[in-house]
Symmetry: C2
Subunit: 308 residues, 2 copies
């Protein structure tokens, strides 16, 4: 029989990430029972059909039992309410972590809404995901070979090590940093690329109909790389831009400057500058491939049956 580390785990928000965690918890025999909370009947029904959870309910209050580990996997705008519910629900020492893409706002929400010493909260961000949303797209290997950033509220909290172990067990490598630093790095590595992807796809969708249809048709020429990101969950991203406004606006300012410089070089036929810039960016790609963080892109349609 397996030696489970947790008896009862609760996942709040059982979409793509939540359901992937649930699958990993089961597959690696980390938790004996896996419960879920989701406000959507549709999501709960899918989880039921896919046999992802021991049981799923619409509200934390619907549970009469306590949990050993609670993972918040819902949009950032729901956190404050969730922390407030946890504050009154939790009656025994309970590890609590989350997967939110911003960390300063999460800590603020926690501090504003939770004053229960039994809630042992370690803010976390597993850097993993795909552009699909919903429990039907989750898979247990999503976290393999990816990083998880922890931004502890007090670096001396002895339960940090337990949260760290949990993430490591499902395949993640842990990095620890401040919430402020996390938000700045993620602005550049995630929030800005995503915003640009949304923006260029929006530009394309506003073109005259006949050109727009052709842009879709010939998207294999490069445009499709942006549309993958732009297929992501709108609510999740709306919340991220609200919660990480300052870092996003700062990085966006830098990007706009660099784009203007390239625009000017094109206008002035400054081919030397263009060639130099285009050569320097190759190096970054090489480093990402070397680090094993590039993923695998198949330019044909032959990989279509795989999870993607």
């Amino acid at each position: 029989m397996a030696n489970f580390i947790f008896q009862k785990t609760l996942i709040i928000g059982v979409g793509l990430i939540g359901s992937s965690i649930a699958r990993a918890l089961r597959e690696y025999s980390i938790s004996s029972e896996i419960y879920g909370v989701d406000t959507s009947d549709d999501v709960l029904e899918k989880c039921n059909n896919l046999n992802i959870l021991s049981s799923g309910k619409k509200d934390l209050k619907d549970y009469s039992c306590q949990f050993d580990l609670i993972i918040i996997c819902s949009p950032l705008s729901t956190y404050k309410k969730i922390f407030s519910s946890l504050s009154s629900f939790v009656k025994k020492p309970t590890l609590v972590t989350d997967v939110g893409s911003t960390k300063v706002s999460v800590i603020k929400d926690y501090q504003d809404a939770c004053n229960n010493q039994d809630v042992k909260f370690v803010p976390s961000h597993p850097i993993a995901g795909i552009e699909k949303s919903g429990p039907e797209y989750g898979f247990s290997k999503l976290f393999e070979n990816r990083f998880c950033i922890l931004t502890p509220i007090n670096n001396n909290d002895d339960f940090i090590i337990d949260v760290k172990s949990f993430w490591e067990l499902i395949g993640l490598e842990i990095q620890i940093m401040t919430a402020e630093h996390h938000d700045r790095v993620l602005a550049m590595t995630s929030h800005i690329p995503q915003l640009i992807a949304y923006s260029i796809v929006a530009t394309a969708s506003e073109l005259e109909t006949h050109i727009r249809d052709e842009v879709i048709k010939y998207s294999a020429a490069g445009f499709r790389d942006f549309t993958r990101l732009a297929g992501s969950d709108p609510i999740m991203w709306r919340d991220i831009y609200s919660m990480n406004k300052n870092a996003v606006l700062e990085m966006l300012g830098r990007f706009a400057e660099d784009l203007s410089t390239l625009q000017k070089a094109i206008r002035n036929n400054d081919t030397k500058f263009l060639e130099k810039t285009f050569s320097s960016t190759r190096e970054i790609r090489r480093l990402i491939e070397k680090l094993g963080q590039a993923g695998s892109f198949d330019p044909t349609e032959s990989g279509k049956n795989k999870k993607n």
Copy 2:
């Protein structure tokens, strides 16, 4: 014995695309002999080691035979010189086509430099490619299920049908349009996404060292999708922006406006506008997937051994 359609085919520029065409010509028994011209000794040596060509030489003048089909696969800045060489080299009716990413400039170069009636030129653009360059990365299936745009100089030319058949034989579906229209569509579908990818990677590479290293480390969060494009051949892209300057600047203007609108919405906490924009872009992604032009992205590293 196979019935070859062409006896002797010449590929000028045997990099990623040229070598992929050579492989397809051989694999599908389309041409009996496949010759190459490339100014790089390194490329010719690789072709020789990989047994891609019947023979490869550094200059068109090094050939004493004539050809049935010539395909230009070199950077756009070399076209004028190539057309001029072809004008004096070609002594019998010869099909000539190309793979250039802009078409107005190609037609102008042809008209300026070639006045040989035996050169039967049909400007073409197979919309296929990956971010790697060099003959070692080519593969015969690169063109499968992709579109090839032809922009004939005279729609009545009877040899258009022969060039069309050639492209179809290696797996492409043909579309015919004017060179001007091609350049506008490709600006949006290819040249702007590529420029933005270069720009954001350049922004990241100018960050303070410690943040830059982290952006690379956590690139799986979205940034990596842009770096794939930014790994592309700098010379090829430098030439594209010179040759399609006006359409690129027009589309870039539209993109910059849309990005500013999103920036303002973030600054003003206009979450409704953000959610609406992010929802509308999902539809475009769905259409691209439906058309079978999305490629396949594997978020794990497990597909690493495949061509990518």
